[in-house]
Subunit: 428 residues, 2 copies
């Protein structure tokens, strides 16, 4: 058997503790599978004195993660602290510069600094892996980077924030309002300290930007992800969508088009009978479409100690086995700067609006759509509420540009009350 692989682990929260447990409890199994003993040389965390339910005996302690990352007895630096900048980034950079391999679960750091870290890794010959950063326990980075490496990827989609999917599922199943479902999720401890990371789509957007980089060979470009949170999704929309055979999901979609890279993380309608439509609660799902393989769907837990630690260990085991793949599946220098494109691949759209309850109002709306070249697939006017007439429209495929033009023209007619809701129907 070869030399042991020696880890330095920074961050001993749920995931870090989970990793330590696996390494302690499955030592023989891991050694048999990888051909090397997996050992922990040193650990680091904010607080040393704390009962984490696992013994840290035999591991050196470092207060400073940078010092940990560059220790002579550390082959792989495992970064589980989190935070896009600050100590996590400093320690990862120090490790890479010192030629240490790095395994991280830090989506925010990679979404913001993925390219520079990939360049740094390449310069020193280090490997930087991040399976745990996307969709928890689902080995999707591996599938996309390695298993499907013979494909040109056409589209990547994902429901990758379990908290949002939980909230949307509870609104649908439990008939809760957004605020009620949000409060329930909060009570269960599902929300990040800054909840906009979840419900604003930022966390899921980070993940999408990483998948897009691998899929399309572009530098990570989180800044260009069109982000729309779930705060504007109403129980009314969920009901109406369900009535027409759809579910509303916070769906990430990335595709390369002739105009550039489209990346969006927004509430979308998907067919209720599709795998994405059937996804309930906190589970994650990633859909990859390749020119050879067709559609691959992967489903599993997107968070939690076990699943995330499983992903971290997958990366550690790969390194132990000698796998050395470029960070985003190609040399950092070969990653093109993404040309961001506004989402404009034609799609059907779901529209909901309230009209003034006067003759001719609906005709004006229909005219505004027609003039912008948006044709109507289904339209439904339903029970009046006070003085307003709620209207639902499903369009045929149209571009977002044409739709926005129609929406602007509608607003000009004076018959539309409030802002219409417009959600893309993603064809899956």
């Amino acid at each position: 058997m070869s030399q042991p692989l020696r880890l330095g682990i920074a961050g001993l929260g749920t995931v870090g503790t989970g990793v330590v447990k696996i390494i302690r409890q499955k030592a023989a199994l891991l050694a048999e599978r990888s051909g090397r003993r997996i050992e922990i040389s040193a650990v680091s965390a904010r607080t040393r004195e704390k009962d984490r339910g696992v013994s840290l005996t035999g591991y050196a302690w470092e207060d400073d993660p940078v010092t940990l990352a560059t220790r002579d007895d550390v082959d792989v630096f495992v970064e589980l602290m989190g935070g896009s900048d600050g100590p996590a980034k400093a320690a990862v950079e120090a490790a890479l510069k010192a030629g240490k391999d790095v395994v991280t679960a830090n989506k925010a750091m990679l979404a913001h600094h993925g390219q520079s870290l990939a360049v740094m890794a390449e310069a020193s010959g280090a490997v930087l892996r991040f399976e745990a950063a996307v969709a928890g326990g689902i080995p999707v980075i591996k599938a996309l980077t390695e298993g499907l490496a013979g494909n040109e990827i056409e589209r990547v989609m994902g429901v990758m924030n379990g908290t949002c999917n939980y909230i949307l599922t509870r609104m649908e199943d439990g008939g809760l309002s957004y605020d009620e479902a949000f409060a329930e999720a909060d009570g269960l401890g599902y929300l990040e300290a800054d909840p906009t990371l979840d419900v604003g789509g930022i966390d899921a957007g980070h993940k999408l930007s990483l998948l897009a980089a691998i899929a399309f060979g572009t530098q990570v470009d989180f800044g260009s992800v069109e982000l729309e949170g779930i705060g504007s999704v109403s129980i009314e929309d969920i009901r109406q969508a369900a009535d027409m055979g759809f579910k509303i999901k916070l769906l990430g979609v990335a595709r390369m088009t002739g105009r550039g890279l489209e990346q969006s993380m927004a509430p979308c309608l998907v067919p209720a009978s599709s795998p994405l439509g059937q996804l309930q609660g906190g589970t994650n799902m990633v859909v990859i479409e390749g020119d050879q393989v067709g559609q691959i769907v992967m489903r599993g837990a997107g968070a939690g100690e076990g699943p995330t630690a499983s992903a971290v260990m997958g990366d550690v085991m790969d390194i132990a086995r000698g796998l050395r793949v470029s960070t985003f599946g190609r040399p950092a220098g070969a990653l093109a700067r993404a040309v961001p494109a506004k989402v404009s691949t034609p799609a059907p759209y779901y529209l909901r609006m309230a009209l003034v309850d006067k003759p001719g109002a609906l005709a004006k709306v229909a005219a505004a759509l027609g003039e912008a070249g948006v044709s109507i697939h289904r339209m439904r006017q339903y029970d009046h509420v006070d003085e307003s007439a709620p209207v639902l429209i499903v369009t045929h495929r149209t571009t977002r540009t044409a739709l926005d033009q129609a929406l602007a023209a509608m607003q000009g007619t004076g018959v539309v009350l409030d802002s219409p809701v417009a959600l893309r129907i993603e064809e899956v």
Copy 2:
């Protein structure tokens, strides 16, 4: 860039041709991703003169795959001929003995000779990969061997024969009898030359035995897979199952128990609302359950040129990138001889039988179950047909042994007409 990786491809059917096309059409992409040019040195097939829709110019031709496999200008032997023995096995053995890496889609060969081939590969330091042998384009071998390498695997399940799932789906959706659905699948060219490979569960059983070897670290033991085809599934059972919220699938299940390794490939009931229950038509699905990751579900095309070629190329790209994992995820010598166990993990069962239409018949059946310790969860007697009274029973969890004892006792009472149908309900 490193030296090119030179392939010798034996077998130029749909999959082989698909691989050649990918290598010709995506040369730059593959080189960028793997860091090496992927080249074809030589090819071999039964017939040289045949329009395969792709140029073979520039590749040496070998009539004998063994000669091809051992050519000096071949680094990786790609075996796409099929057949568990004969030329495929001879050529793969020759390649491995010569220290050439091998990529194959040949599930039958691996199911029968996986252990000896793994030993052979290890002896010469060669790598033997077979992603395309299981579930077509779904990168499930990679997920199980690498991505989930930090888990103890608890259960592996799969719907892995698209033809069977197509037939069952058509029986359900189209109300066809088994014979009608079989004839339809045959007309569409979905069946193997020997259809028992499909409908007898043999092909899917081969795949299950390979997954089990990786999951549980045991030598491939196809001979111990309990095989039951779909020929005995009636439209009546499909309807009754649906009525109770279940679907019938040809489901492979492997789990390690205290008694040994259980492997079964048999028609089972699964909840209609589960991912397995929702699987329609020819699509494949594999479910992996690990102690850390929980349940991972993977879904995609299980056959066809593009998906299978995608899987072959995933293996080729791994080799180009320098990944060298043991055939079944551990050294061949570390794979334990499987201790096969009859499927006896307690499960609920679905029973359908016809009773003589006489007072006391049902009581005798109930008594037979009770005496064997099998308790009844639901029982339903439905419309009489001629002189017989059809009865449906769903049991609580019981072992197959207790159930068989009850079934034997029932037969002894003389009230049961024909053989009762007994299908396991797999809890997923």
